[in-house]
Amino acid sequence: MSAPRTLYRKIWDAHVVAQPPGAPAILYIDRHYIHEVTSPQAFSGLSRRGRKVRRPERTTATADHSVPTGPIDGPADPQAATQVAALETNCRRNGIVCFGPGHPHQGIVHVIGPELGLTLPGMTVVCGDSHTATHGALGALAFGIGTSEVEQVLATQCLLQVPSMTCRVEITGRLQRGVTAKDLVLAIVAALGTAGGTGYVLEYAGAAVRGLSVEERMTICNMSIEAGARAGLVAPDDTTFAYLRDRPYAPRGGAWDEAVAAWRRLPSDPDAVYDRIVSLDAVAVEPMITFGTTPAMSMPITGDVPDPDDVADAEIRQGLRKALAYMGLPAGRPLLGHSVNVVFIGSCTNGRLEDLAAAAAIFRGRRVAPGVRALVVPGSRAVKRAAEAMGLDRVFREAGAEWREPGCSMCLGMNGDRVPPGAWCVSTSNRNFEGRQGGGSRTLLAGPPAAAVAAVTGVVTDPRIVLEV
């Protein structure tokens, strides 16, 4: 009988190609995603050194970060258009499948991978993007890498890696009505701190996680990096298999049955040892909102913005003071009722069908408040099609919100969708860093219901009031 292992360790062990002495392990990468922003220099590096893409069929490309989300034929920033064209050229030359602009599979890389069944349990998955942890919701070991490592994977289908420490994040109970997976992960990030997960792979477990849909699990895993962890994992279960079945690239027939049998052996063994265990009670989690400039600076939406004068640690006090000065928010006062200029619903965190449906439930029969710009950006073409089939696009349009084309959009403001300087944006994205959504932008991260309700009221509002919870 071998020693009990964690889910992480099982995936790791199954992918070590070699362990050179005195060096990191050579880890095989099953699935590599690339996009326009972090791949061009990797391809140039390859061609400069006369190297080839070793296994083109294991890399999949999509255009997401800098694609415009206005009407399909609308104007694109010329340099961004050049970058997307470079992606398409690099893929064509190297035999890589590319879901470029207009392709029915195009979308945010962390939305399309799972929805196409390209990411499967037990895989190793990498992408030149820090939110790659999203794919961990399916029980895949998925993490973000830099462009040099993208080049490494293209050339070798491997990465040099040292094993991470493991942290089990045990979430008991279940989420209350009106509380979303986004609220839960904001609470987790606040509990761990922005660097609390550094060096760890987080495995989210417990009754609350079992009760979450795969899309909700993706929202949780997505923000693992905001606590410093490169990867987040959820053990695959029947919910996972039901999600994956019949996805375009998922195994079929006998291969499906074999795969499921193998995937059932992936969850951590009962006696597996973790380097660290933290627990959190889902019942206590309320709708959350951020007030500062790191995703850990969050609080229940009904709370008061912390007062730096109440903080004992000088460095933390100074950091909080700087953040509140940037955000233009008064210390010690509630955020409820604070005015909002822009609302962004979308991103790899909250741009899936369930997120859009949750937002639409609030927009239905209501109007976006005067002076507020509300954007709804589906995470992928497939999400867009599904939302339109449900009539959600009409709900958004009739409410006065913009229904746009898929892409990363205002999450990072690369494509022209930007928050004006000094404006407050309630955003369902993942980062509230200074200027993240455009120079001088002030981001308040929240879940889709809180964002939608801010759009229709024009101020920060507890979504439970509208949802009548």
């Binding site: 062990d13 070590v16 970058q83 289908q157």
Partner: protein, 222 residues
């Protein structure tokens, strides 16, 4: 064949020991969006990022240098060491942040802790991440603020930093990264030395641990 391209494939080398003045950015959780804002990431090559390093902290809305920011000080040029607060480089995986720091002239960043992906990206570009304990870091910041001309020395062979008052402290760095930074090991070449192992792995040879039914079939055409 390897030999012909050996020089070309070599990665950047860290010039150890490095003795230099430092610039101090006493901010915790400096994220890569600050180091290199996303709107500048549409480039398809690696050029021109140094001028945009810390763009939004460095320039006003009209593009004029902000006098108070450290990179705009008259003595900023020539300082090869950046001293910053904890969790430096958090957030986005953009390697552009490391390229920008190197292009500006930095060869090392000293802080109490680094974000994981940034740390990897730094090493890939010959930029040495030096993590030192908080109390030592506070002393270094104080000394550097008292005398901006004071030199620090970073010795990668012995993995030590010596501060202006002569005190030295060790910093952690795994042996492989140290050799890589000292000798410029090309990682792709290093991995491809194990090509036979990769081929064996790909052809479904003996596999440890669990299920590889999860290994994907070659991707069908779209």
């Amino acid at each position: 064949m390897m030999n012909e391209t050996a020089r070309e494939t070599t990665r950047p080398v860290f010039p150890s020991p490095l003795t230099s003045r430092c610039l101090v950015l006493p901010v915790n959780h400096v994220d890569t969006d600050q180091i290199m804002p996303a709107r500048f990431l549409t480039a398809i090559d690696k050029a021109g990022f140094g001028e945009r390093l810390f763009h939004d902290w460095r320039y006003d809305a009209a593009g004029q240098p902000l006098a108070g920011f450290i990179l705009n000080r008259p003595d900023a040029a020539g300082a090869a060491i950046l001293v910053a607060g904890e969790n430096f480089g958090c957030g986005s995986s953009r390697e552009h942040a490391a390229w920008a720091l190197v292009q500006f002239g930095f060869r090392a960043v000293i802080c109490p802790s680094f974000a994981d992906i940034f740390r990897q990206n730094a090493i890939q570009n010959g930029l040495l991440p030096v993590a030192i304990p908080g109390d030592f870091h506070r002393r270094l910041v104080k000394l550097a603020e008292m005398d901006s001309n004071a030199n620090l020395t970073i010795d990668l062979e012995t993995r030590t930093v010596t501060v202006p008052d002569g005190q030295a402290i060790g910093f952690p760095l795994d042996t492989f990264s140290r050799i890589r930074l000292l000798e410029g090991v090309d990682e792709i070449q290093f991995i491809l030395r194990h090509e036979a192992d990769i081929e064996a792995f790909e052809s479904g040879g003996p596999r440890r641990g669990v299920p590889m039914a999860c290994s994907p079939d070659p991707m069908p055409a779209p």
